[in-house]
C-alpha cells in the first residue's frame, strides 16, 4: 500500500506526465474562470487528445484539468457574482457581497485556501477509504437515495430563510426547481412533458443557462442600476490586501473547513449527486455553525464562512467521486462518467484491478488532485491582488464584456439560441426572486436534483411498490430531514435564550 502511494507520486513527477498535467492545469484554469463551461464538458472536449497518450500521461492531463476547474470557478463567482462552474454557485451567496464590500482579496484568499484543504482532504479520503466505502455505497438503494435528495433539499430550504415563513419560501422555491426539472422527455416512457411543441425542450432545460440566468443577470442589472464598480466606493489600495486575511480565516475556521470537506467527499461518494448538492450541503452547514442570531443574519451579506464551506466541499468531492468510479465503475458525477470513458480509451477497466494491478496509477490520481491544486492555488495567490482589482473596473466597461461571456457560456451548453432565451427568462425570475426575498439556492438545487429524484421514485415504486416508504433506512433519513427542517427553530430558540441570559447577567 505504502509502496503504491510513493510510486503514485513518482509517476506524476516524471517529466512527460508532469508536463501534461501542467497543460491540463492551464486549460482547467481558464475553463474554470469562464462561466458555463464545466469540468465534465472540458474532459469531453479534450478526449481526442489522449488517444496517443499512455494512461500515466492521460490521467494527470484530464484529472489535473478537471480538479482545478472547481478552484478557479470560485474566482468568477466571488468577483462578478457569476458562477464560473455549476458547482461554484453557493460561493456567490457570500463571496460576491464580500467583493462588493471591497473584500475581494479576502474572499479569494479564503476560497482558494479552503479549496486546497478540501482537495487534500478529498484525496486523503480517496486513499484511505477504498476498502471501507464499498459496503456503504451498496447499502443505499434507490429509496434511500431519494430520501438523501429530500434531506439535501430540506437542508438548504430550511436554512435559506429565517422564521416559519422562511422555511415555507425555501421549500416552495425548492418545489419550483423540481417543477422546472419536469420539462422535457420522460426518460421512463419517452412521453414529452411541458415542451409546448418545441424541439429545444425535448431534453429539458440545461443547467448552465438556468444557473447563469438566475445568478448573473440580477448582478448585471444591479451593476447597471448602481452605475458603479463592483467594489463600489471602496478605496483602491484596500482591495488586494485581504488575501492573507482570507488564508488566516481558513485556518481560524479549520474545523468548519474540514467538516465541509468531509461533507463534500461523502456527497461525492454517493453516485449521481455530485458537486451541485455538495456545495449547498456545505453552505447549510456553514450557516448552522453560526453561534448567535446576528451571526446567522450575516450570511448572505458577506460572511467568510459562507465562502469557506462551499470552496472546501467542491474540491473534496472530486476525491470522493473518484472512489466509486475507480473501485466499482460507478461514476459519482457526470464529469466522472466522462472520465471513465477516458479510462477505457487508455486501456484501463475500473474495478478491483485498479486496487491491485494498477494501484500506483490509482494513487497517482490522488497525487494529481493534490499537486494540481497546490500549483493553481499558488499561482492564483501570486496574482490575487491584480485579480481583485478587476472589481474596480467601472461597470460601463465591464458589463458588455461580462454579458458576452454569459451568453457565450450559456450558448455553449446546447449550441442553440434557445439557451439565450432561457438565460433571459431565468434572469428575470432570479431578479424578482431576489427583489421579493425568495431564496434562489433551493430552486437551483431542486432543478438539478429533479430528474435524479424522479428516477429514484420510479425505480423505488417499480421495485418495492408503496412499501419502499417503510424501509428502515428510508424512515431514518426521513426523520433526519424532519430534524434538519426543525433545527433552525431549535437553534434560534436556544440562541435567544442564551442571549437573554447574557443580557440579565452580563
Amino acid at each position: 500500500m505504502i509502496d503504491g502511494f510513493i510510486d503514485g507520486l513518482l509517476l506524476i513527477l516524471q517529466a512527460k506526465p508532469f508536463f501534461y498535467m501542467l497543460i491540463g492545469i492551464a486549460v482547467g484554469f481558464w475553463i474554470g474562470i469562464l462561466p458555463g463551461l464545466g469540468g465534465g464538458a472540458t474532459i469531453a472536449l479534450m478526449m481526442p487528445f489522449i488517444y496517443k497518450m499512455s494512461a500515466q500521461e492521460a490521467l494527470p492531463f484530464l484529472l489535473g484539468m478537471h480538479s482545478v476547474c472547481q478552484t478557479t470557478g470560485d474566482i468568477t463567482s466571488v468577483l462578478f457574482g457569476i458562477p464560473g462552474e455549476g458547482t461554484t454557485v453557493a460561493t456567490i451567496i457570500d463571496g460576491y457581497p464580500m467583493a462588493q464590500k471591497g473584500e475581494a482579496g479576502r474572499a479569494l484568499g479564503a476560497a482558494l485556501m479552503s479549496s486546497l484543504i478540501g482537495a487534500v482532504v478529498g484525496a486523503m479520503l480517496l486513499a484511505l477509504s477504498i476498502p471501507i466505502v464499498r459496503p456503504l455505497v451498496l447499502a443505499l438503494g434507490a429509496p434511500e437515495m431519494f430520501m438523501v435528495i429530500i434531506l439535501g433539499l430540506t437542508c438548504i430550504s430550511s436554512l435559506s430563510g429565517h422564521g416559519k415563513r422562511g422555511l415555507l419560501l425555501g421549500l416552495l422555491s425548492g418545489g419550483c426547481g423540481l417543477l422546472f426539472s419536469l420539462i422535457g422527455q420522460d426518460l421512463q416512457s419517452g412521453i414529452l412533458r411541458f415542451t409546448f411543441g418545441q424541439l429545444y425542450l425535448w431534453h429539458g432545460l440545461s443547467i448552465p443557462p438556468v444557473v447563469i440566468g438566475l445568478f448573473a443577470i440580477p448582478v448585471i442589472i444591479d451593476l447597471i442600476v448602481q452605475g458603479n464598480t463592483i467594489a463600489g466606493d471602496v478605496s483602491y489600495g484596500k482591495l488586494g490586501k485581504g488575501a492573507m486575511e482570507g488564508i488566516i480565516d481558513t485556518f481560524r475556521y479549520l474545523g468548519l473547513t474540514v467538516r465541509c470537506s468531509l461533507i463534500g467527499s461523502f456527497i461525492g461518494i454517493l453516485p449521481g449527486l455530485g458537486g451541485g448538492v455538495a456545495q449547498w450541503m456545505a453552505y447549510s452547514h456553514a450557516v448552522q455553525s453560526a453561534k448567535t442570531i446576528k451571526e446567522r443574519e450575516g450570511f448572505g451579506k458577506g460572511d467568510v464562512r459562507g465562502v469557506l464551506g462551499p470552496g472546501a466541499s467542491n474540491n473534496a468531492k472530486e476525491g470522493g467521486s473518484l472512489i466509486p468510479t475507480v473501485a466499482f465503475g460507478i461514476p459519482g458525477s457526470s464529469g466522472m462518467a466522462i472520465l471513465m470513458g477516458a479510462f477505457l480509451i487508455v486501456g484501463l477497466v475500473p474495478g478491483p484491478a485498479m486496487l491491485t494491478k494498477h494501484l500506483a496509477l490509482t494513487f497517482s490520481m490522488v497525487w494529481t488532485i493534490v499537486v494540481s491544486n497546490i500549483i493553481v492555488v499558488l499561482v492564483s495567490l501570486l496574482f490575487i491582488n491584480k485579480i481583485a482589482k478587476l472589481t474596480t473596473i467601472r461597470s460601463s466597461l465591464l458589463i458588455p464584456f461580462i454579458l458576452l461571456l454569459i451568453f457565450l457560456g450559456a450558448y455553449s451548453s446546447n449550441n442553440h439560441y434557445g439557451d439565450l432565451l432561457v438565460v433571459l427568462i431565468f434572469g428575470a425570475l432570479g431578479y424578482y426572486m431576489l427583489k421579493l426575498g425568495w431564496p434562489r439556492p433551493p430552486l437551483v438545487l431542486g432543478f438539478i436534483l429533479g430528474k435524479i429524484a424522479e428516477d429514484y421514485v420510479y425505480i423505488s415504486s417499480l421495485r418495492y411498490g408503496i412499501t419502499w416508504l417503510l424501509r428502515p433506512k428510508v424512515i431514518v433519513i426521513f426523520f433526519l430531514a424532519v430534524i434538519v427542517a426543525l433545527y433552525p427553530f431549535i437553534q434560534q430558540r436556544r440562541l435567544l435564550r442564551k442571549e437573554k441570559n447574557y443580557e440579565i447577567q452580563p
Binding site: G81, I92, I93, P97, S160, G161, H162, G163, R165, G166, L168, L169, L172, G175, C176, L179, L182, D186, Q188, S189, I191, R193, I220, I221, D222, I224, V225, Q226, G227, N228, Y236, F299, G300, I393, R394, S396, L397, I399, P400, F401, L403, F407, Y417, L420, L421, V423, L424, A428, Y432, M433, L434, K435, L436, G437, W438, P439, P441, V457, Y458, S461
Partner: protein, 148 residues
C-alpha cells in the same frame, strides 16, 4: 385584501402548479409519467396557495429582502429612479440578445459587441461624468474621481 408583488409571485406558482396537476391528470399519461408531476405539483400547490393567502389576506408581514439567505441587491435611495433604471437595464439586455439573434456570435464579435458597448458607454457617460470619472481611462485604468 392587500395587493403585493410577493403575493403575485405566489399566485403565479399556484396557477402553474395547478396547471401541472391538471395536465398530468387529463393528458392520458401513463402512471409512471404522471407520478412525479402529481407529487411535486400537489406539494407546490399547497405551499404556493398558503403563501398567496398569507400575503393577500394574512396578518403576517412579508419578510424583508434581507431575510433570505442569498446575496442581495444593493440599496438605492430613489425607488422611482431604480425602477426606471431596472427597466432600462432589462431592455438593454434584451437588445443585446436580439443583436446576437440577428448577427450570430461571429458577427456579434465583430460588429454588434462594439455597437452595443458603444451605445452603453454613451448612455453611461453622463453618469460617470456626474461621478467625476474621466472618459479616457481604459480597462486597466485606475478608477476613482478624476484628478483633472
Amino acid at each position: 385584501m392587500k395587493f403585493n408583488h410577493k403575493g403575485l409571485l405566489g399566485l403565479i406558482w399556484t396557477i402553474t402548479s395547478a396547471g401541472v396537476i391538471i395536465t398530468a391528470l387529463y393528458l392520458d399519461w401513463p402512471f409512471r409519467t404522471a407520478l412525479f408531476p402529481l407529487i411535486i405539483g400537489s406539494a407546490v400547490l399547497v405551499m404556493a396557495s398558503t403563501e398567496t393567502i398569507l400575503c393577500f389576506f394574512g396578518n403576517m408581514a412579508p419578510p424583508a429582502n434581507s431575510q433570505a439567505v442569498d446575496s442581495g441587491l444593493r440599496e438605492t435611495a430613489d425607488d422611482a429612479l431604480t425602477s426606471k433604471k431596472t427597466f432600462q437595464a432589462f431592455t438593454w439586455i434584451i437588445g443585446f440578445v436580439l443583436l446576437i439573434f440577428l448577427l450570430g456570435f461571429m458577427g456579434f464579435n465583430g460588429t454588434s459587441a462594439r455597437l452595443t458597448s458603444m451605445r452603453y458607454q454613451y448612455g453611461a457617460r453622463e453618469t460617470h461624468r456626474d461621478r467625476g470619472w474621466s472618459g479616457r481611462r481604459g480597462l486597466g485604468g485606475r478608477q476613482g474621481p478624476a484628478r483633472e
